[in-house]
């Protein structure tokens, strides 16, 4: 019964798993621009398992933004996993270590496919989908990073232009609501204004202030 649910979860994300593999491969290639080698890139995918934050950290470190800004920006992008993990918390049981390990399979896509029509979440779907995506993401990173080392200079390949395109592609599905669009416009403006005056990395962290638009009176 449960095993069937795992398989169903794996099937539900199969098309996304292909995308996760190619996305992981692009992370492996682009991580080189930040001086992150194949081993470090693969271990990062295995421990962080959150694409946008990994790309953000790599792009800031590569753009001489410093390690503090890189870590902070990645953390700000991943804070969303706190409320997401809260929404599925009842699905997890057993020892704290087991819950900790299984919780790492929570990503945007596995969370989305495990939501049923009645608004509740399905444990088998979440873990089956999460594990499928995890394997694709880590394997993609390793293969991309190793293949990337055979490619030439990142700047000659236009890889510096790949980053803004990537972040734009990740942003588009995030701004379907008016508050999200307002936060994006304000965040982008804050960053643009600060770029000439602050060290690289600071504009990105400062833009997080725009999220306060979502504050609701307690």
């Amino acid at each position: 019964m449960t095993r069937a649910r795992y398989r169903e979860g794996a099937r539900a994300v199969a098309p996304i798993a292909v995308a996760a593999f190619t996305f992981g491969a692009s992370f492996g290639v682009l991580a080189r621009t930040a001086g992150i080698d194949a081993l470090a890139a693969t271990i990062m995918s295995g421990t962080t398992f959150a694409g946008s934050a990994q790309f953000a950290a790599a792009s800031i470190l590569g753009g001489s933004g410093g390690i503090a800004a890189a870590v902070l920006a990645a953390a700000l992008l991943n804070v969303r996993y706190a409320p997401i993990s809260v929404s599925v918390a009842p699905l997890f049981g057993g020892s704290p270590l087991r819950r900790l390990l299984e919780a790492q399979l929570i990503v945007d896509e596995s969370w989305a496919v495990s939501r049923r029509a009645d608004g509740r979440y399905d444990r088998g779907l979440l873990l089956g989908a999460g594990l499928t995506l995890y394997v694709s993401w880590v394997a993609g990173t390793a293969i991309g990073a190793i293949a990337g080392e055979a490619l030439g200079d990142p700047a000659d390949l236009g890889l510096d232009a790949a980053f803004p395109a990537l972040f734009l592609a990740l942003l588009v599905p995030q701004v379907r609501t008016r508050p999200a669009l307002a936060a994006a416009l304000l965040g982008g403006t804050i960053a643009l204004v600060l770029v000439p005056f602050t060290p690289a990395g600071v504009p990105i962290v400062a833009a997080a202030v725009a999220a306060l638009l979502g504050w609701r009176r307690p």
């Binding site: 190619t22 980053f163 504009p203």
Partner: protein, 102 residues
Amino acid sequence: MSEVWLLVGLVGAATIAFKSVGPVLLGGRPLPDHVAGVVTLLAPAVLAALVVTQLVGGDREIVLDARLVGIGAAVVALLLRAPLLVVIVVAAAAAALARALV
């Protein structure tokens, strides 16, 4: 080299902690509403800032270069609903081509 491993370790630890908040720390209790509202807007705000800084950011200056050609091509690809990988490759190729021609 050690800076890279510090980055890998810290980003990994932070992400593992965030994902564990519900299943391990709170044990099923919900987050307060006013906090949840702010958290959902963090991703769009930070991603928009990343678009801007990666597109025109320089060393404490605004730099307009081949990256603009790349993002223009990416917008076209996005409007045509191209998959993510195609969007990235199109942007990189357009920027590389623009550099080769100028």
